[in-house]
């Protein structure tokens, strides 16, 4: 698949995020204040379906529909996950993005 075609995936993802209130400051504030649990449901369901979908792709030999290798690898452990994660979370709360 040519790299420019990924713009279509990006547009699809942007459309779905927008329809899902993932880009809505009030939804993000509600998640962190525990007054609106919508985003917890979105993230949880997205993880479940992604896990199922990626598992099926792996079972199918980890090949794309055109026979290329699927480059979906587990991110290796590193302590930055903790400190960078806390910093990111702070920014997420401030900007809602």
């Amino acid at each position: 698949m040519h790299w420019t075609a990924f713009t279509l995936f990006g547009a699809l993802f942007g459309f779905v995020l927008s329809r899902s209130r993932v880009t809505d400051y009030n939804a993000i504030a509600g998640m962190f204040r525990l007054t609106d649990l919508h985003l917890f449901g979105v993230i949880g369901a997205a993880i479940a379906i992604s896990a199922l979908g990626l598992w099926i792709v792996r079972r199918g030999g980890n090949r794309t529909v055109t026979g290329q290798a699927v480059e979906v690898r587990r991110k290796p452990w590193q302590s930055g996950a903790i400190w960078g994660g806390l910093v990111f979370g702070a920014g997420w709360a401030l900007s809602g993005a």
Binding site: Y25, G41, A48, V65, E71
Partner: protein, 165 residues
């Protein structure tokens, strides 16, 4: 029907599976793991000679193509919802900042810096870590997601406590 798809925000049980489907199609058709924040590193790699940005991860052009699509999709969603109204309104942040544009701009700019630095430090953001990473059972992704939540919970509640709201 048009309303349910294009106007009313989707409930979590439609939104979450739709995101999971996109993750699956990205892997099955494109052969790539969906992720957003690494593309900012790719943008840095164009202008920076720093060794940090010269790894293969940042030199894949598809990431930039992907993030170019994000606002286009958002624009289509807003137009179809009949809600396309460019402006500076920002939900509850407007009440928090008491209508001060400077305070709001400062919070958003500072938040952006923290997001950029934090995502590179953590090795991903809520798309690559919290959704794709956890779906693969990666320890770093589970820990990073807990840290995103703890950091966000602490700062947002502090913000509301200090500024009122």
């Amino acid at each position: 029907m048009y309303d349910a798809i294009f106007v009313t925000p989707w409930p979590w049980w439609v939104a979450g599976p739709a995101i999971g489907l996109i993750v699956t199609l990205m892997a099955w058709i494109g052969g790539k793991a969906l992720g957003v924040s690494t593309a900012y590193g790719s943008a840095c790699a164009i202008v920076s000679k720093a060794a940090f940005f010269q790894t293969r991860e940042y030199r894949e052009p598809w990431r930039l193509a992907f993030v170019v699509g994000l606002p286009l999709g958002g624009l289509v969603a807003a137009v179809l919802a009949g809600a396309f109204a460019p402006g500076l309104a920002y939900g509850q942040l407007d009440a928090l900042t008491g209508g001060s544009l400077a305070t709001k701009a400062g919070l958003l700019f500072g938040g952006g810096l923290l997001i950029g630095a934090g995502a590179r430090w953590a090795g991903g953001c809520p798309s690559g870590h919290s959704i794709v990473g956890i779906a693969q059972g990666a320890t770093s992704s589970i820990v990073a997601t807990l840290a995103f939540m703890v950091g966000g919970f602490a700062v947002l509640n502090l913000l509301f406590a200090v500024l009122g709201g």
